[in-house]
Symmetry: C2
Subunit: 208 residues, 2 copies
C-alpha cells in the first residue's frame, strides 16, 4: 500500500497510517454510530496503537469529524441544481442529487454514521443540520424566494433525514432496495412542495 492522494505533505508511511485510521473509523461509526464506537476498537481495526489516534485526532469527536467529511459539499451544488431546469422541479433535482450522492459506496458509511450518531451526539447532530438543512436546503429555499425559508429548509431536511434512516439504517423495504432515481422521483414532489409550495393542509398558513 502506498500513501495515495492524501491532502497533506506527510511522509507516505504516516499519511498511510492516518488513512487507515480514518477508514477504520468510517466503518465503525457507519456501523455502530458514535456511542457504539471506541477509539480502542478503531485502533485494533486499523492495527495501530490507540495513542497514535489520540496523537492525530485528540478526541473521538475530532476523529468523527475527520472520518465523516463528505467528498462533496452539497451546498456547493446548489447553483447548478437551480440552473439545471425549471424552478417548479428544483426540489426534485436536489432530491435526485442527494440520493445519488448518498448511494455512492464510499458515501454510505458517512450517511449511516452521521444519522446513527446524530440522535445521541451533538457534534453529529450539528453536522447533519449543517450538511442538509442550514446548508443547501436553506440556500435553495432562499433562492426560490418564498416566505419562511428556514421553516421550508427544516421541513425538507426532516423529509430527507427520514429517507436516510428508512433506506440506509432501518432498511425499510421496498424503499431500501429501490434504484436511487426512483427514490428521488417518489420523494421529489414532497421536497418541492416544502421548498416552493403553499405550506399547510389548507394550502396557506396565513388562514390560521
Amino acid at each position: 500500500m502506498t500513501g495515495g492522494p492524501r491532502r497533506t505533505g506527510r511522509r507516505p508511511g504516516l499519511a498511510d497510517t492516518r488513512g487507515r485510521i480514518l477508514d477504520a473509523a468510517r466503518h465503525a461509526f457507519g456501523e455502530r454510530g458514535f456511542d457504539g464506537t471506541s477509539i480502542r476498537q478503531v485502533a485494533a481495526d486499523a492495527n495501530v496503537d490507540p495513542a497514535l489516534i489520540h496523537h492525530y485526532f485528540r478526541s473521538k469527536q475530532q476523529l468523527f469529524v475527520a472520518a465523516m467529511a463528505f467528498p462533496v459539499d452539497p451546498s456547493a451544488v446548489v447553483p447548478a441544481v437551480i440552473a439545471d431546469g425549471p424552478p417548479e422541479h428544483v426540489g426534485e433535482r436536489f432530491a435526485a442529487f442527494v440520493i445519488g450522492l448518498w448511494d455512492r459506496p464510499e458515501v454510505r458509511p458517512l450517511v449511516t454514521g452521521v444519522v446513527r450518531s446524530a440522535s445521541t451526539d451533538p457534534v453529529a447532530a450539528d453536522m447533519a443540520r449543517r450538511l442538509l438543512t442550514e446548508g443547501p436546503l436553506l440556500a435553495l429555499a432562499s433562492a426560490i424566494d418564498r416566505p419562511d425559508a428556514p421553516l421550508r429548509a427544516t421541513l425538507a431536511g426532516a423529509q430527507l433525514m427520514g429517507v436516510a434512516i428508512a433506506r440506509y439504517v432501518v432498511r425499510m423495504e421496498p424503499l431500501a432496495s429501490m434504484p436511487p432515481d426512483e427514490v428521488a422521483d417518489l420523494i421529489g414532489p414532497s421536497i418541492q412542495g416544502y421548498l416552493a409550495g403553499d405550506l399547510g393542509a389548507s394550502s396557506g398558513r396565513s388562514q390560521r
Copy 2:
C-alpha cells in the same frame, strides 16, 4: 408512593419497584438510546439492585420493550381516523393524531427512545417499523385502496420518522418548538400524497 394502576397482581411493594425500574429505563433510553443505557445505570437511578432488573426483565432488550410500550396503539385508531372525515384528508388526520400522541409528555421519552435506538438496535428498529409503517400506515394505505400500499406506507413512515428526529431528537427549529397542530398541518399534505396521491415526480410511476 403506592403501587398505582399496574397491570399485574403483584404485591404493591414489588409492583412499585417494577414501576420505578420502568420509569428510570424510559428516562435513560429516551435520553441516551439503547446503546448509551446500561442496566447498572438504570438500577442506580431506580435505587434497586441490578440483579432485580435481570430478575424482572431478563435482558436489556426485554427491559427496552417493556419500558417503551406505547400507551395507545396507533393501529387501533385507524378506523376512527378513516371515518372521521373526507378521504382526501385522511393522511392529514393521521398526521395530526400521531404528532398529538408523540407530543404528550409521557410519550415523548418513548419516541426519542425508539428513534435514538432504532439506528443501532434491531429490536428498536422492528418496533419503529411495527408501530408506524407496517401497523397503522399499511392499514391506512390498504384501506385507501390504491396500488403499492407497502411502498406508500414506507414513504409515509419515512416522512414521519424524519419529523420525529427533527422535532424531538435533533431539535431543528422552527419545527421543534411549533404547536403540534401546526406541524400536522405542514406535513399532512405529504402524508396524504404518499398514501393516496399519484406517486412520483411526473405524477405516475407507470410512465417510467
